[in-house]
């Protein structure tokens, strides 16, 4: 490992860690001190989860990084999410829902020769 690579890994690791740690500590302090968060901030924080998870879903379906969109691949992913939703609605179980997605996607992937 060269010193440049080591320094870069150290700085990147530290910056990533601090971006996760500092907001967590600051918000925990406010919560522990029972300082009331404004209704706007409460609404904002309540919406962070659904918003980012929805973006993760989009991100995991559409190709990122300027890659060309292949409609068939996107269609396969969307179709393979249907058994996931179906099994989750029926069972409420994460593991079996994810497994249904893997089986569905694997089957469609093989069928399409994608």
């Amino acid at each position: 490992m060269t010193s440049k690579v080591a320094a870069l890994i150290g700085c990147a690791g530290l910056s990533t860690y601090l971006m996760r740690l500092i907001p967590l500590v600051l918000t925990s302090r406010r919560v522990t001190a029972k300082q009331t968060l404004s209704p706007r901030l409460q609404g904002f924080l309540a919406a962070v989860g659904p918003s980012f998870v929805a973006v993760f879903v989009v991100y995991s379906i559409l190709p990122a990084g300027g890659a060309k969109i292949v409609p068939l691949q996107v269609a396969i992913k969307i179709l393979a999410l249907l058994p996931v939703a179906f099994v989750y609605q029926k069972t409420g179980n994460f593991g079996s829902s994810v497994l249904a997605g893997l089986v569905g996607y694997g089957g469609l992937y093989l069928l399409a020769g994608a």
Binding site: A12, T16, V48, V55
Partner: protein, 240 residues
């Protein structure tokens, strides 16, 4: 050691194990991607130690791949660092969203929790933590993070050590196994789709899709997440 303390410790271990079990979908999704990361690090001319250090100390998939690409193409130190920080800006929002669920009483408790707060762990925590009392959640989250971290580090090591054999095997496995992550995100999203959550998710998804299709893939993640959250701030206080 009193029996009361032992009981508390046993509870924490069993919660940690429960968190670890909850991490299984993440582990299935992470492992092949981490193997690919290990391979890409070696093919970029970096060593096993470089790959391992990145996964141990950074633990952020997208920025690790970007960093390897930048190192391979000779991007300057400040440029690579700024790009990494930019890619990880979204992490600023995870702590504030999750802190009210954890009730951490000191900054020391936040130290181990913060390192494992990746996209997938954050999303899984949103679904897993509310099912437990506030005193149980930190141990659960740590179990979730341990599973994800172990899978990522181990996958990197396998990819970096056996990169020639792994390169032949993983391209066939990556697309199928990595589909566990979209599946996981969907099952986490479904119960959040009520009132404010549904409106925020819809706006976030539309903004992210529009930006992704326009080629702004890095901005898409952050802009989508923020736009949905801002809508949530102005939604009112009725229906959570």
């Amino acid at each position: 050691m009193t029996s009361e303390v032992q009981a508390v410790q046993k509870g924490a271990w069993s919660l940690w194990r429960e968190g670890l079990q909850g991490a299984q979908p993440i582990m299935i999704g992470y492992f092949p991607v981490a193997v690919m990361f290990g391979i890409s690090t070696r093919t970029a001319g970096l060593g096993v130690l470089d790959a391992l250090a990145m996964s141990l100390f950074i633990f952020a998939g997208a920025s690790q791949f970007a960093l390897v690409g930048m190192l391979a193409s000779g991007v300057s130190f400040p440029g690579a660092l700024i790009a990494t920080v930019g890619l990880n800006l979204r992490h600023l929002f995870y702590g504030p969203a999750i802190a009210p669920m954890l009730g951490l009483t000191s900054w020391k408790q936040a130290l181990p929790v913060a390192h494992g707060l990746t996209d997938e762990v954050f999303a899984s925590a949103l679904a897993l933590l509310p099912r437990h009392s506030i005193t149980e959640r930190t141990a659960l989250l740590l179990g979730l993070e341990t599973g994800a971290y172990a899978s990522w580090v181990l996958g990197t090591l396998v990819g970096a050590l056996c990169f020639q054999a792994a390169a032949e095997l993983t391209p066939a496995l990556v697309p199928v196994l990595s589909f566990s992550l979209p599946s996981l995100f969907l099952v986490i999203l479904l119960p959040l789709l009520k009132g404010r959550g549904a409106a925020s998710a819809l706006v976030a998804a539309v903004v992210a899709t529009a930006l992704l299709l326009s080629g702004f893939s890095t901005a898409a993640l952050l802009a989508g997440g923020i736009s949905g959250s801002v809508l949530g701030a102005f939604w009112g206080r009725d229906d959570d």
